[in-house]
Subunit: 149 residues, 2 copies
């Protein structure tokens, strides 16, 4: 028995993929099902990748349900039973800097040099954990939280 | 960068652990924080385990927020942005049989010998995927769905 993936629903796949790519994930494969009117897109962190085209060791699966023609896509909200997805990163400051430069909010900045929280466009919380701990560093050390995560 | 875990909140850790153990997961480690009044419990599938006590390759983290003394624990509901956790299993019929014998509902039975859905006590959907495909087999082949997943 082995973990395969966590599936999240996305209202706009391109927007979510853009966010996840800035975070550092790579698209592994995708499957379009025109009859079922959905698209599945699998992404993984570089440290989980296998050979190109092969399933990665751990993936996040995006499900995009195609809206009825002429209608807006479904929008998604969260519930409290799900908490977050967590990834280990090599340099939490570099990751957060990249995300901020791309216009994303660091909801819980890495004040302690170890932990940060960000969110996908549909509100899925992502925890970033530094391998080890970096010395506290500005602007992160005095950056306040924003909203919830 | 590497996937670490998916965190879910649990209203009753023992009840969730009992379910996940019948599913096939093992507890890897736990951390009690009396000051913060929470307990974190990490479980993993046998195929993701490393040496005893070490972090597994992919984990599910249970967060139990201790209720105020004399009060009931928080109850959790779900949202549509989160879909499910998926695990590969060696024998999907054996896994589902074990779960049913322990009194759990197979929300989406493995009619096709490949895919099933079950849910944790707090409503987190879990997808079971057979390694390959097994020949269709009763009672699964003609078992109806129950509820949503």
């Amino acid at each position: 028995m082995k973990y395969l993936h966590t599936m999240i629903r996305v209202s706009d796949p391109d927007r979510t993929i853009a966010f996840l790519e800035v975070l550092g994930l790579k698209e592994v494969r995708r499957m379009e099902n025109a009859a079922g009117r959905f698209t599945l897109i699998f992404l993984a962190a570089p440290g989980d990748l296998n050979a190109p085209g092969e399933r990665a060791e751990a993936e996040v699966e995006l499900t995009y349900n195609w809206p009825t023609e002429g209608e807006a896509p479904e929008t998604y909200t969260g519930g409290r039973n799900f908490g977050h997805l967590a990834y280990r990163v090599d340099d939490i400051y570099a990751t957060c800097e990249r995300l901020m430069a791309a216009g994303y909010t660091i909801h819980r900045p890495p004040r302690d040099g170890h932990m940060a929280f960000v969110k996908t466009p549909d509100g899925i919380s992502i925890e970033l954990l530094q391998e080890g701990v970096l010395p506290p560093q500005e602007p992160w050390a005095s950056m306040a939280n924003t909203g919830t995560w």
